[in-house]
Amino acid sequence: MNIKKLKKIMYVEDEIDIQIVAKLALEDIAGFEVEICSSGMEALLKVASINPDLILLDAMMPGMDGPTTLKELRNLEVSRNIPVIFLTAKVQGPDVEKFKSYGALDVLSKPFDPLSLGKSILALWNKIP
């Protein structure tokens, strides 16, 4: 059980529509604080200043994709230990295993249910030892 309370989530997503929906679902419904980054590069630049408790990462993005972003985040001192959850449409069996092997906490699939997305994230957060 993670004793730390989950407050701030950084969401890396290139689709603006999804950004909006997810932000609403996680802030208005689940009550977290959400910061959005539109690309992997932006996430790397902003992760130090945002300093989130958890990063929610899309897998398929133009430019730097999700797995690359994760790798780069792990290279940064500031984000090395921040848990990362993939939120992706690519949820074929082998993909999930691959993402986990990169060091992701877990994978959540799109399309998501906005009402239960926060609960799912919190459940994963609470599982972190």
Partner: protein, 936 residues
């Protein structure tokens, strides 16, 4: 008694020669050492004179030298010189007597001291009769050797000597000292007489086939009779007379009665001899009559007839030796009768290829005594073989005994050769046509094949290369043959693997890629690398092995596969991305968290929301189906507690119950059975079954969920009390995109893929799923999962080897489908197998199809003749749908159909007992029958 005079003659002569020589020598020794007994044999008897002894010595030498037929000149010279010496001595002696001269030859060597009291002549001189006999003896011998007929005179002289000798001998027996009343008749000594007899016989036998001797030595009846009678003729009168003489002398009877006795004795003894001889001649006569036919067909007769026939002919004795050949035979084969007689008849003059068979038939013919015909190649004198009809037939006597086989050979060479060449032509023609046909067919297939067919030898060099291979790889057949495969079409990085594979095959006779479809890469002449599908078959030839490969270029297929994968990726990402926004937005608005909307707007938002959810489910299901079909669905199997999973599923899907206003009700205790499976996939199955049950239940209805543990498996069921599944829909229930009955007015959302996916998942977990449904009463979906056993986890290898037993007989109760239109038979079969299996009966093909759609079966028992067709059609359906399902055909008739080849067992009703049926069922299901009671 038949004497072989050819060899016995010499023995007789030799014996005579030695006897004479030895006695003469003894007498001379007697004279030398003055031993009376040697000179006179018995004391008081006359002694043999030295000159007589010398003469006998010379006679012995003559006999010894002249005993052969073809005497050498030297021997002849010695023999005749010896005889000339004898003649000289005796002529001189006789001259002394006649003219009373003394040549001084009488006591030349020895002086006769005991002067004979019987003679008035010179002591030591030969008796005149002795001298005469010696003269006759030597002259006779000369005459016997003469070429003209004077030998008869010679023989007459011998007989004279014999008569004189016998007379002299008789004189001794009867004690007569003087005879003939001739003044100078002097008795001959006893051994002189004996030696005369012996030497006469010796000389006579030098020429056994000349003159008078012919009859004595003849092999025929005459010879035999002569030999038999001659000795008694000499001995009997002498013996009878001697008896009479002795009897009178001893005073046993007087002379008159003695004469009577003598006559009687002669009569009796001669009668006996005559009788005996008559008997012998009589027997011979009978024998001759018996073999009358043989006589008729004697070789002499045959000769007369056969020499006039145009056929080759020979005769064979029943013992197998050739007894006659005709002239034509000898001139044709160059073999005379003598040549043929060297060994028993054994077809040595015929072609070696046919001898073995012919000999066998000949032996059979000999045993059965039947005519024997054979067409064989006979060797001519010039070593040329020609076909002959050899016909051998037996000649039999009245007693039906074979006395002779007659064989004829007729030349049938022209006819036989014509027939042979005709046969050969026909045969060759057939073979040629067959070869041409198959070659042409093979060539056509080989060159028109839609794939490359290439062959390599054991060194990896090409030995075959079809047209398609030329286009595929860019080398023509002429260019590639003899080149190494590893240096041409195999990419550099795969060459080592190819080498290893070849070496492995050489060593073990096995290859990892042989007789299988494998996908590898090859290179074209241009160096372009491309994917191929390949199957390699080793072809064992008489002395080597070649490997033939069938190759299909799968570049296009790979491209299509790639496109498909890309498409799947697009579906999964590009469709989901916009859907994420839509569904998220609608979900937020519909929740009311974003503020109130009007009732009408709320209604529309709800519709949009639920359809966006449906669309996302559909996408997920389509992706699942694709994964199942491509084998890409992965299972993360762990140990699961059945109780946990059931309650979790019911809780997780409570929203369905809420939505359709039904109640999920767990019935009874759910056992804490341990099963092995993927939690998420199991939840997917529960989701499908629970949502289906909820959708198809009336509002307020209960949906019952239960589970039960069996010996090796668990059953989990979900029972609704809805309308049930209509009959016509049952067969398609597990199919793709099968939605609810269209006549049902109620809206049922769902993709129509759920049950199809559920069945695939359950089967992947080594279980099965089926349903029981009754229209108007409800439907019960049941799925069965094997109990987790230690074996599964600890040692998967063991599980594999026992997979049949464990999955079919230990873990689960076997399910048997019995298709039979006769209710009575159906009942019986159910009784027989029902004790150990769950039997589902179907009465016709339609029924059987439905049952097959609903349920999994381990065994199908099929009656072939059914009201709506033949169950042969079901066999393929079963094999396609349930490849593991065993099939027994239990039919009233025996049926030959290739479709029956896949069947595990065929039983004919009338010939199969209950226990046999049960045994077969048990065998196929792997049931041990100890706990089963067999119905009577």
């Amino acid at each position: 008694m038949v004497l072989d005079f050819k060899s016995d003659k010499q023995k007789i002569v030799l014996t005579c020669s030695i006897t004479t020589g030895v006695v003469a020598l003894l007498v001379l020794m007697g004279w030398q050492f003055n031993i009376a007994i040697l000179k006179s044999v018995l004391p008081g008897f006359l002694s043999m004179k030295p000159n007589a002894a010398i003469c006998f010595g010379l006679v012995s030498v003559a006999l010894f030298c002249l005993r052969f037929d073809d005497v050498s000149q030297t021997k002849k010279l010695i023999g005749f010189s010896a005889l000339a010496g004898v003649l000289l001595i005796c002529v001189l002696t006789l001259a002394e007597y006649l003219w009373n001269i003394d040549f001084g030859i009488d006591e030349l060597l020895f002086v006769d001291r005991d002067i004979s009291k019987y003679t008035a002549f010179q002591p030591g001189r030969l008796a005149p009769v002795t001298g005469l006999c010696f003269c006759l003896l030597s002259i006779g011998a000369f005459l016997n050797f003469s070429k003209n007929k004077l030998h008869r005179v010679g023989q007459a002289m011998y007989f004279i000597i014999l008569i004189i000798s016998i007379q002299a001998m008789l004189n001794y027996f009867f004690g007569i000292n003087n005879s003939f009343g001739i003044p100078f008749y002097i008795r001959m000594p006893l051994h002189t007489v004996a030696l005369f007899v012996v030497s006469c016989i010796g000389f006579l036998f030098i020429h056994p086939h000349k003159g008078l001797m012919t009859i004595i030595t003849a092999e025929g009846l005459g010879g035999r009779t002569a030999r038999r009678l001659l000795v008694p003729a000499v001995c009997i009168p002498a013996f009878v007379h001697w008896l009479q003489y002795k009897g009178i002398n001893l005073g046993l009877f007087d002379e008159n009665f003695g004469a009577v006795l003598k006559i009687m004795g002669n009569i009796v003894l001669f009668s006996i001899i005559i009788w005996r001889n008559a008997a012998i001649i009589h027997d011979a006569d009978i024998q001759r009559i018996d073999s009358d036919s043989a006589k008729l067909l004697s070789d002499k007769h045959l000769q007369e007839v056969n020499e006039k026939l145009p056929q080759l002919m020979f005769a064979i004795s029943p013992e197998g030796s050739v007894t006659y050949v005709n002239q034509l035979w000898t001139s044709y084969t160059g073999k005379t009768l003598k040549d043929m007689q060297r060994q028993n008849f054994n077809f040595s003059d015929f072609h070696a290829d046919e001898v073995e068979v012919a000999l066998k038939q000949w032996q059979e013919a000999c045993a059965s005594g039947k005519l024997f015909d054979n067409i064989l190649r006979l060797r001519r004198a010039d070593e040329v073989y020609r076909w002959h009809l050899l016909r051998t037939f037996p000649l039999k006597n009245e007693k039906n005994e074979i006395i002779k086989w007659i064989a004829t050979c007729s030349d049938v060479d022209d006819r036989k050769r014509a027939q042979l060449s005709e046969d050969r032509a026909r045969e060759e023609n057939l073979v040629n046509v067959a070869i041409l046909n198959s070659e042409a067919r093979f060539k056509a297939i080989f060159n028109s094949a839609l794939g490359s067919i290439i062959s390599i030898d054991r060194e990896g060099k090409f030995v075959d290369w079809n047209k398609h291979a030329e286009t595929m790889f860019g080398w023509t057949k002429e260019e590639i043959l003899g080149k190494k495969m590893s240096e041409t079409i195999i990419p550099a990085d795969l060459r080592q693997g190819h080498q290893n594979g070849m070496q492995h095959y050489e060593a073990t006779g096995h290859g990892p890629i042989l007789n299988k479809m494998v996908e590898v890469e090859a290179i074209r002449r241009s160096g372009e690398r491309f994917p191929i599908q390949l199957s390699v078959a080793p072809v064992k030839l008489s002395n080597t092995t070649i490997f033939t490969a069938f190759i299909v270029d799968i570049t296009e297929r790979k491209k299509i596969e790639h496109l498909k994968n890309e498409f799947i990726s697009i579906v999964s990402h590009e469709l989901r991305t916009p859907l994420t926004s839509i569904r998220g937005s609608l979900g937020l608005v519909a929740s009311g968290a974003m503020g109130e909307v009007s009732t009408k707007a709320k209604m529309l938002i709800d519709i949009a929301h639920s359809n966006s959810e449906r669309l996302s489910r559909l996408i997920n299901d389509i992706l699942d189906i694709e994964k199942i079909e491509s084998g890409g669905m992965t299972f993360n199997n762990v140990n699961i507690d059945l109780n946990d999973v059931v309650y979790e599923a019911v809780e997780a899907h409570a929203s369905f119950a809420e939505k359709y206003k039904v109640k999920f009700k767990v019935i009874g205790n759910i056992p804490h059975s341990q099963i092995n499976g993927d939690q998420d996939r199991l939840m997917q199955v529960f989701a499908n079954l629970l949502s289906n049950a909820a959708k198809f239940s009336p509002e307020g209805a209960n949906i019952e969920i239960g589970a039960k543990e069996y010996e090796s498996s668990v059953h989990i069921w979900i029972q609704d009390f809805g309308p049930g599944i209509p009959e016509e829909f049952k067969t398609r229930i597990f199919g793709k995109f099968t939605q609810a009955d269209s006549s049902d007015t109620r809206q049922k959302d769902g993709t129509g893929l759920g049950l199809n996916i559920s069945r695939a998942i359950i089967e992947k977990l080594q279980g099965r799923i089926w349903f029981e449904s009754e229209v108007g009463k409800g439907t019960k979906f049941i799925f069965e999962l094997p109990l987790h056993s230690e074996e599964h986890l600890v040692n998967p290898a063991i599980k594999k080897t026992h997979s049949f037993e464990s999955s079919k007989s230990i873990l689960l109760i076997p399910k048997v489908l019995h298709v039979e239109d006769d209710c009575d038979v159906a009942k019986i079969v159910t009784n027989i197998v029902g004790s150990s299996c769950e039997v589902t009966s179907a009465v016709d093909i339609y029924d059987a199809r439905q049952k097959l759609a609903e349920k999994h079966f381990d065994l199908a028992v099929l009656d072939l003749k059914l009201p709506d067709g033949s169950a042969l059609d079901l066999i393929w359906l079963i094999k396609d749908r349930l490849p593991e399902c065993k099939i027994i055909v239990f039919s009233a008739f025996e049926i030959n159909d290739t479709r029956l080849n896949v069947v595990d067992c065929i039983l004919v009703k009338s010939r199969t007992s209950n226990s046999q049926l049960f045994t077969q069922v048990s065998r196929l299901l792997g049931i041990k029958n100890q706990n089963v009671k067999l119905p009577a």
